[in-house]
Symmetry: C2
Subunit: 438 residues, 2 copies
């Protein structure tokens, strides 16, 4: 048992056959060339093939859609879950979409149109229509009968939604509860009132956070009239949260958008994703150089000042990137909101003053040794100001970007560092010029 | 309905009463002082109170454990789920543990001892013992009867585990399947062979990744003899994945350990978590200063060289932190493993050469303008070498740390930047000295 479980960690050595989990089969397909992948996919029973297709990464899906015949693709798409089908459809070119639609039955065509219409990033875009519903007046016995008939087509029947005559969501009931209840009880007696529905237009990350917070298997999605239009399931919530975490992390390293897998991405793609920010930052950092040029005379007179330049500008950037990271993450988890800015700024000021004093003390000892009392004083006072300014900018930038409607995660790391560099140069050399030259 | 759903986004305005979800009640309690929180918690029905207590953050739990009487705490702890109870127990001081144990029944005491014995960070530490089991020879009818009797005590009966006479795990069956099956069928006929059990000693992050990958509600946990000892559920998997993402993100900003919530953490705590790395990096950056001191004569002769110092050292750090972030994330998601190092290094070399050439070109134009052909050449060749070296170090560091048994996430951001700074100073000024002075 334990050894079998270990197998999942080495999918590359696994054989490709119908005994494998679709998630593992998908990983194997992704490593094949398209012709091999097509043949292997078609060798699977149709329903397993459709599940496997749904687990594939978007690029492989689109690639396979090109090499499969219309009939083969239509058969697979018909077997897929509603949400996976709509996702695939959104990834195809209009030409591919038009080729695919006639091969599908009326019900699937309409399901695709409905699900694919929702804006990306919303609850509507990740919800599925494969849920089961009940009405209040059914008995528990009839309800179980209905679920038995519908179960094979549904993504989950562990929680069933209770609707009124207008399809408005009024409650939900767990399968566990139905099994425990007396067969003659009415659904109205055993259901829970539903108060945690989300709206189709809600942000998908918020919906995923709510599923994580309430430990539920799924959350119902309603339209503006309170009518049930879909459910978001726990597995989609995990996918959203993982994708967002990866995205935040990559933004912190100035990748304008996500690289799905660095191990398989092409060198051209990696170059394109990375070069934009790097070159932009070159011009940002040249401003620091321009700042230095303003103080050419001071530098020429006191070359020893240059030795402290790296530590001063790096410290401002380090303190700033600490506070921006903490703020970005707290905003992402909902611990901190826009209205907390003022309060956070005061707290950050206290922390930054304590940090700045500690670091000024550390660096002034070296300043004393290298260049005497005056230099030690200039270096220490610069360090204090630079650390405090860097921290305050680092904390405020995510709020500012968020207010401007931009993603706060863009603010972290190198953007803060570049800003801190310029501030550091100006603070340090203007203080040095005032005390040593003036 | 939609408006009610909105409520959850403003928990601070919600009332504290038994109609709320325990996750919301826990948030309200966390904002009260301990005496208020104690009174509010005790005002809830016991079972809701225990659920709410389980949702509290660790600090509030430990704080409340101090102000509750032994009897009150024992009553709440008895009602909690096995895994939440064991987590709480591990957070208490030995004195608190000894005060609590006599108040519990024998069954709970043994459950705590068993669950609390597993090492932190393993599947054993996050598993729960509230699962239901069946044997192969039961009929579907008897199995449903058994589940009906046991359901109220179990965390989930949506999937039930099938054991042989020695408690070894041989399969599992979904509640959905039991409902669909004929009452007279044997469990052996309807169960699925279980091949995805994890071991108690498996890393909790790997287990959570497996739950995310296979889209399951729970995974069974077995001991070294293949005997079922617990299950890890999807909600615990989400918690693990979120905590790991936060931790990786914070490590990228040099926080030695996690700050739970920057909005409520004390200023003293924030200072302590941040000062360590900042001061350490001060001494790292002073090395760059010491490197500069080696080239005092070169700098004095060509002050213009200093103007390009910020852009050169920052570019090495930026390129390095891009590649370390990509590598860390790919290692965390399992896309890249130790054995891929060599292959990744070759790919990174190609990408970095292309990036370095682009950036050398960008910066040489400015060099030409500021100081003529010789300076432009020195700056361009330095940029190329610094970007390539920074990228290779950035990509290799996570592998190196991982091989040394350290967390690769520690490598990102400022650590890479500081290394790149020192390299940058040495490369730039040795090239400059060779071409301009030598």
């Amino acid at each position: 048992m334990v050894d079998e479980a270990r197998e999942k960690e080495r999918p590359r050595e696994a054989v490709f056959d119908a005994s494998q989990h679709p998630a593992d089969l998908a990983e194997l397909l992704e490593e094949m060339n398209l012709d091999q992948a097509r043949a292997s996919l078609l060798s699977l029973p149709l329903s397993l093939g459709a599940d496997t297709f749904a687990y594939l990464d978007p690029e492989t899906q689109v690639g396979l859609a090109k090499v499969l015949t219309r009939g083969e693709l239509a058969a697979i798409v018909t077997e897929m879950n509603g949400d996976d089908r709509a996702d695939l459809f959104n990834r195809l070119t209009p030409k591919q979409q038009n080729a695919l639609l006639p091969g599908l039955a009326q019900a699937e065509r309409e399901d695709i149109r409905r699900l694919a219409a929702h804006e990306e990033g919303t609850a509507g875009a990740i919800m599925t229509s494969d849920y089961a519903t009940l009405t209040v007046n059914l008995t528990v016995k009839d309800a179980l009968g209905k679920l038995r008939r519908e179960a094979p087509d549904k993504e989950t029947i562990y929680r069933t939604y209770v609707l009124d005559a207008d399809r408005r969501l009024i409650g939900s009931v767990r399968l566990q509860t139905l099994i425990l209840a007396s067969p003659k009880q009415k659904i109205a007696e055993v259901m829970e009132r539903e108060t945690r529905a989300v709206s189709v237009s809600d942000d998908q990350e918020e919906v995923a956070q709510a599923i994580a917070k309430y430990d539920v298997i799924a959350l119902p999605v309603v339209d503006e009239d309170g009518r049930l239009v879909g459910i978001v399931t726990h597995d989609d919530a995990i996918d959203v949260l993982q994708a967002e975490a990866t995205e935040d992390f990559q933004k912190a390293a100035m990748m304008t958008s996500m690289v799905e897998n660095i191990g398989t991405a092409s060198i051209k793609l990696l170059y394109r994703k990375r070069v934009y920010w790097l070159v932009l930052l070159v011009f940002g950092n040249l401003l620091s150089g321009a700042g230095l040029a303003l103080y050419e005379e001071t530098i020429a007179a006191y070359v020893v000042l240059v030795f402290f330049l790296p530590v001063l500008i790096a410290s401002g950037g380090n303190a700033g990137s600490q506070s921006s990271t903490l703020t970005i993450r707290a905003m992402a988890t909902g611990d901190v909101e826009m209205k907390d800015w003022g309060r956070m700024l005061l707290r950050e000021l206290s922390v930054a003053l304590a940090l700045g004093l500690t670091m000024a003390f550390a660096v002034s000892a070296i300043g004393l040794f290298r260049g005497g009392l005056e230099l030690a004083f200039v270096v220490a006072i610069s360090m204090l100001i630079i650390v405090v300014a860097g921290s305050l900018v680092g904390m405020s930038m995510p709020f500012l970007l968020s207010r401007l409607g931009l993603d706060p995660a863009t603010a972290s790391g190198p953007l803060i560092t570049s800003l801190a560099d310029i501030m550091g140069v100006l603070v340090y050399f203007s203080i040095a010029t005032a005390f040593l030259i003036g």
